[in-house]
């Protein structure tokens, strides 16, 4: 992305070098504003996820996660909160003992003597940059998010593996053999691309109940393993592998299955990688189908768990945002590293 341009060259590198028209300025404004529109809600949620529970609902909010500072003062059992107080025109940090109406009793934390009375209007709390890691650890340890996370990882990993194997086998058959019904089967598989889950979700649920997979992780893994997108993508790629290679392997005494996994599969690696990335994203983000199939808490995936959690704890934004970020982080990492793969893959196949 970065080509080591100087800032000036970067800004002026438009259609006609050396001339910046109104269109160029508007274009840049659009792109910069668009980027901000994408980033701000995400970054804001990210920053908020580190705020302590007491701070998160403060309005107007602070940008960075901060928290009031408390300090143990000799002679007091509980830690006292620190405030900046105006004493004789000099700002001083003092610990508040108690508050009565518009007055507060304060002591010097390093030299606690008799408390002095201070007008609350002149005091403001002392805050430091604080990262509330408990937002992340609490849901994982005290609530069920570790289970949700494990379920999501399991589903994503197993489903992607099965998706690759099952669809690669089908694509191999449909690209490297000529047999009766070949065309009909291909058309049949591709035609299911047109059928959205939302239309068949009721009967699909009944089928899952019928085969005994309801409220089980396998119930969300298995029904979508056979993917028309996957078959199509892999088949198109395998068609580019020369048939003479397959024949050479046959002369080399390789069984058909050995041809598949020793010759065809390694040569299909680029397409398999694209499908793997998509499968991981699909599975990790999947919501409606798990929502329908899973009913007990110990089987929830991260997405379903998040949705349930926000219903139950609608005020505990610190936990919700932390877990939201936990779900978003791997996707962001995948995107940062494989951005090119993903965008060219989508532009090339038109799938999502």
């Amino acid at each position: 992305m970065s080509q080591g341009l100087s800032p000036i060259a970067f800004l002026t590198r438009t259609r006609r070098p050396g001339r910046i028209g109104v269109t160029d300025i508007l274009s840049w404004a659009w792109l910069v504003l668009g980027t901000l529109a994408v980033l701000i809600p995400v970054v804001w949620a990210g920053l908020s996820s580190f705020k302590p529970a007491a701070e998160i609902t403060r309005f107007p909010p602070t940008l960075l996660p901060r928290a009031a500072v408390q300090q143990t003062v000799p002679g007091f059992n509980a830690p006292l909160s620190l405030w900046t107080v105006d004493v004789d025109g000099q700002p001083r940090e003092m610990a508040m003992v108690r508050r009565i109406g518009l007055k507060a009793q304060m002591v010097d934390p390093s030299n606690p003597g008799t408390p002095v009375s201070v007008d609350v209007k002149t005091m403001s709390p002392v805050q430091r940059l604080t990262i509330a890691t408990e937002n992340y650890t609490d849901p994982l340890t005290r609530f069920d998010f570790l289970t949700f996370l494990k379920n999501s990882v399991f589903v994503t990993f197993v489903a992607t593996l099965l998706t690759l194997i099952v669809n690669a086998l089908a694509a191999f058959a449909l690209s490297k053999y000529r047999f009766r019904g070949e065309k009909a089967i291909f058309v049949l598989i591709i035609s299911t691309l047109m059928i959205p889950l939302t239309v068949v979700m009721v009967p699909a649920y009944l089928v899952v109940v019928g085969v005994g997979l309801v409220d089980s992780l396998w119930g969300i893994i298995i029904p979508t393993v056979a993917s028309p997108t996957g078959v199509f993508l892999l088949r198109q790629y395998m068609l580019t592998i020369p048939d003479e290679l397959i024949e050479a392997a046959r002369v080399d005494a390789a069984s058909e299955f050995r041809i598949f996994w020793r010759i065809v599969l390694p040569l299909t690696a680029p397409a398999l990688a694209v499908l793997a990335i998509f499968s991981v994203l699909w599975r990790w983000n999947d919501f409606l189908w798990p929502l329908i199939v899973l009913s007990s808490r110990e089987n929830f995936t991260l997405q379903v768990g998040l949705n349930a959690f926000q219903g139950e704890f609608s005020v505990q934004w610190n936990y919700i945002l932390a877990m939201t970020f936990l779900s978003l982080a791997p996707v962001t990492v995948v995107f940062l590293f494989l951005q090119k793969y993903i965008t060219t893959g989508i532009a090339g196949t038109g799938m999502k």
Binding site: R15, F172, P203, V334
Partner: protein, 331 residues
């Protein structure tokens, strides 16, 4: 010979596993012959397709004609067109309250409004962004990636991020306060919540359509622009007389695709609006189907299936149009 490396060991382990896996498959080949192997390779895929895709399609229609609360067809009485009658009985289709199944018609109208605004807004934003990115602009890859990023996020995550952004104590209200505007609880206001459902949907999906349109733009031969430049065409004329007409087929396909997907709005709106709120202001068709079938203990599978069939017919019509266009584009 060469000394074994770690990858070699991994390879050997894989070879060992595959050796076990392939034994029965090779046995099948010896028994049935090479010609039958493609059927074996297709079997897992076709079995899964059969059970989880074709079987549901087959029973989807049948279900719409049954009533009761039983799960399996055998437990369910045949009720003819009752479910459809219940859905479609209306004194005035423009007033959902006058309909027997007023929730359904509320959802239908909400969905139609959403589709209209969402399609227009997404198409406009995606087209403008694609046109800008198609200019020889610096850092194009960065911006393209930036706009595309939300597409990869989960609808739940997006719903929650926006819910927080629009919260009473959220950033938007903080910003408004700086401007002297009193805070607003956006998601509890019918108008604002509908507005932001569209905003979030555009924010979520526009990167995908931008990418498709950008691919279409980049397929327009460069020499056409050079010819237009020599013919002294103004940028505006170039846009309206060359770029847009040539992008036309892509635009149509994107339009239909956008409509097909907009009709099925559910996930992010469901999370953002706490299940369609305020009231039923953001209750859409898929939500109606979900709630009838799974949302309560009623388990009105027949009614939900009938609604699915109706929506499926609309989507089928859109898909057929898209296929037609696709074929026209190829020829």
């Amino acid at each position: 010979m060469s000394t074994p490396k770690a990858t070699d060991l991994g390879g050997r382990a894989l070879d060992f596993v595959m050796g076990i896996v392939e034994a029965p498959i090779n046995g099948f080949e010896r028994l049935m012959g090479r010609k039958r192997m493609p059927y074996l390779f297709l079997a897992p895929n076709l079995i899964l397709f059969g059970i989880f895709t074709f079987l549901p399609i087959a029973i989807a229609v049948g279900y719409a004609f049954t009533g009761g609360t039983g799960l399996f067809v055998s437990d369910r009485p045949f009720v003819g067109f009752d479910n459809f009658r219940q859905l479609l009985q209306c004194e005035d289709y423009l007033r959902p309250g006058s309909c027997r199944e007023s929730l359904f018609w509320t959802a239908v109208w909400n969905t139609l409004w959403f589709v209209g605004f969402n399609v227009a807004a997404t198409l406009l934003v995606a087209l403008v962004t694609a046109l800008i990115l198609n200019r020889a602009i610096a850092a194009r890859g960065f911006f393209r990636a930036m706009f595309f990023y939300p597409v990869l996020l989960s609808p739940v995550v997006i719903g929650l991020i926006w819910k927080w952004f629009l919260d009473r104590n959220g950033l938007l209200n903080a910003f408004l306060q700086m401007l002297g505007v009193p805070p607003e609880i956006f998601l509890l206001d019918v108008g604002w919540s509908r507005f932001f459902v569209v905003v979030v949907s555009v924010w979520f999906h526009m990167g995908f359509y931008t990418l498709i349109l950008l691919a279409g733009l980049q397929a327009i031969p460069k020499d056409l622009y050079e010819a237009a430049a020599i013919d002294a065409a103004s940028p505006r004329r170039t846009l309206f007389r060359i770029t847009l007409p040539l992008l036309g087929p892509n635009l149509l396909v994107v339009l239909i695709l956008l409509m097909i997907r907009s009709v099925q709005i559910f996930d992010e709106a469901w999370v953002l609006t706490n299940g369609g709120g305020p009231g039923t202001a953001n209750s859409f068709i898929v939500q109606y189907i979900y709630q009838m079938a799974f949302g309560s203990d009623l388990r009105l599978f027949g009614l939900a299936s009938a609604a699915s069939v109706l929506m499926g017919l609309v989507l089928l019509a859109l898909t057929l149009i898209q296929l037609r266009l696709g074929r026209k584009m190829e020829s």
